[in-house]
């Protein structure tokens, strides 16, 4: 290992430390890391921009953010939440389960944070109207969003990055993970039900209040809703046909985003884009891609992947098993995005020596570990932090341990099933 490599590692570990401890805003840290590497010549700017930044991921994120921005305004998700609460006849146990599953489904199709930002307030309202604590709802929905997001390419940022890097299509994710994720949703829902059932008791009077909600009022612009649903259906169809059409996911997302923006002509497009696209997140991703690119450029990634292969003696099964748990535990404590960004070039490096087909289990192991791991602690995933934040603002604070004691149990269960799933399905 030469001095350049040591220096590169020191900078990287330093940045990781600041991202994990949140001593400095993570966007600034990622950008600072990228700038330092480029300024020191560890990675030339031209190569960083042309080669290391995964523009497919960047534009897929932008496209999804714009789409979500439009669809959110239709009130569809809130409509569904209230519709289900009424279908459950105001029975809190049924509502908890229904909202758990619907959150999982939404979050498979949208990003997790958006899902909880929409679902959490409405379920707090439902809980308050029922006169029970909203905490079981908030916690189970954050958990559901992390599990559900694992099912598809667009459900969670780690999948987006993995799909883009490994060339796995939307259909590839659905084919490999969707049923297994559904299985985990079912197991987790049973566990959550057992945890919370005693707290979910409501009087007839309170139950009647739920039945009085008029969910139709949630849809304020029916035309926009219909148009959005058509575009979203088209979006999913194109994603399913991705392999046949030979289109990248970003192209498809941008087609849908453009189509949706055409309809919402009432809003100022400049304002809409600056409001709905989280430019901070975009810069965070770009910064990370450059940072990891620099590690690759100076040879650190190659060295690390070589070490992994030495440790496991090239045994893919052992590597995949340990990947599930490493990714899972790491993601419970630090942001899973930088972790996945770092692992991706290592797996690519391994695939260069053992072949693309042989590393497929590693990609799935990384995806399952990183996504499920987010439930491990309150700080494991943005969705947890955001929904706890909304709950706190509504005077129902959720402490680190309150969330973690439920989240950790679910995570351990999910990681055990994942280990078994990978062993059964891929070896």
């Amino acid at each position: 290992m030469d001095t350049q490599m040591i220096l590169a590692i020191v900078i990287f570990v330093g940045c990781y430390f600041f991202i994990a401890t949140e001593k400095i805003n993570k966007i600034i840290v990622a950008l600072a890391g990228a700038v330092i590497y480029m300024a020191l010549g560890f990675v030339p700017q031209a190569k960083a921009f042309a080669h290391y930044i995964d523009w497919n991921v960047v534009f897929l994120l932008i496209g999804m953010m714009i789409m979500v921005g439009v669809i959110r305004r239709t009130g569809l998700f809130e409509y569904v939440a209230i519709f289900l609460a009424k279908k459950a006849k105001g029975d809190p146990k049924k509502i908890l389960l229904m909202l758990f599953f619907i959150t999982g489904i939404f979050s498979a199709l949208l990003d997790n944070v958006t899902t909880v930002v929409i679902i959490t307030p409405i379920s707090i309202l439902i809980a308050v109207e029922m006169g029970i604590s909203p905490l079981p709802f908030v916690i189970t929905q954050a958990i559901a969003s992390n599990i559900g997001g694992t099912a598809t390419l667009i459900g969670d940022p780690p999948n987006l990055m993995i799909g883009s890097a490994a060339g796995i299509s939307f259909f590839g994710f659905v084919e490999n993970l969707a049923l297994f994720v559904l299985f985990n949703m079912i197991i987790s829902s049973i566990v959550m039900y057992l945890f919370f059932r005693k707290k979910l008791v409501v009087s007839n009077e309170r139950r009647a209040r739920i039945m009085e909600f008029d969910e139709k009022q949630m849809i304020t612009d029916k035309g926009l809703l219909i148009y959005s649903l058509i575009v979203f259906a088209l979006f999913l169809t194109l994603l399913f046909l991705q392999d046949i059409l030979g289109l990248h996911a970003a192209t498809i997302a941008l087609i849908a985003a453009t189509a949706l923006m055409l309809r919402s002509k009432k809003v100022n497009v400049d304002d809409f884009i600056s409001e709905e696209v989280e430019w901070g997140t975009i810069i965070f991703f770009i910064g990370l891609f450059i940072m990891v690119g620099a590690l690759e450029e100076v040879g650190v990634i190659g060295l690390m992947s070589g070490k992994i292969m030495d440790l496991t003696h090239g045994n893919m099964k052992a590597t995949a098993m340990s990947m599930v748990w490493t990714a899972g535990i790491a993601s419970a404590f630090i942001d899973n995005i930088p972790f996945v960004a770092t692992m991706i070039p290592m797996i690519k490096d391994i695939s260069a020596s053992v072949g693309v087909e042989k590393v497929m289990p590693l990609w799935w192991a990384l995806s399952l570990g990183a996504c499920f791991g987010g439930n491990g602690t309150l700080i494991g995933a943005s969705a947890n932090v955001i929904s706890a934040g909304i709950s706190k603002k509504s005077n129902y604070p959720i402490s680190f341990w309150t969330f973690t004691k439920y989240g950790a149990v679910i995570t351990v269960i999910n990681l055990i099933t994942s280990t078994a799933f990978i062993a059964w399905r891929y070896f």
């Binding site: 959110r72 305004r73 009130g75 809130e78 209230i82 930002v117 959490t120 307030p121 409405i122 707090i124 309202l125 308050v128 209040r209 009085e212 909600f213 008029d214 969910e215 139709k216 009022q217 949630m218 304020t220 909304i390 603002k393 509504s394 005077n395």
Partner: protein, 301 residues
Amino acid sequence: MQAMHLSSLIDSNLVFLQSELNDLHEIYEFMSRQITERYPLSESQEIIIDRLSQRSLDEGILFPTGVAIPHLHLDNFNDTVIAVLVPAKPIETKCGVIKMFVMVMNGTHDNTLYLKILRSLIKMSKDDKFYEKLLSQKSEKDFVELLGTGDFAVKESVTVTDLMELRTVSIKKTDTIKDLGKLYNDYDINYIPVLGNDGKVIGEVVLMDYLMLGFPNYTKFIHTLNFLKSFEPFEKLIKMGSESVESIMRPMGVSITPQTSIYEALWVMNKHGRHEIPIIENGYVLGVITIRNIFRKVVRG
């Protein structure tokens, strides 16, 4: 513009001391007749009196020091005329006591001069000793001469404190939300500064914040509340009555200093989307300016 002295703008023929008149309408009539007799105004006296009477004293005419400054802009009049009337006994009105009338008429050509006159008059009336001495003058000539000895130059810049009534309705951080509601009920105001134990300002509340207390925070994240048929947010507001103002106030936002010009104040308010702004010096609130103050005293004046 050169610094101009207030006294140089006053015609001693239009100064009336120890006046026995005590009816507002009669005083307006008398003063405007005196002006129209000496200056060729474009409007008839009836119209002038009519226009003056349309404005109530509390619409930026009567200032807390007891000086009433009725003012008119006249078309096709290229001068500024100031008439002064000091009643023998202060006149009690429902808007406060009037110790002195200063009627100002000017053309529409220059509004800034009027503002500057207003500023120096208010400054003069805040100097208690000088003001009392001026009010007790017996001769018109002495009155103008005495005014000339004071440092009441009609200066360039009009600042917020020169023009605004300094309202000091505020609330202590330890007061309750119920107390806050009472203040909103008793005063026709929107903005209330919150003071710490040392009397310095530590936060602020606006009427909207108070009313929105009844809405739980989670409702603010929901796209519409139409679906709730029976939602009673104000029940919660009443229940919260005993909580402290500190627990609901927002941290101090933008403020201005007494030296800020009114144009700057308006600009700051617009930039921050505010309808009112506190004037703060050394951590103490001197008053609050609203866009309505500015409209009444600057534009409509």
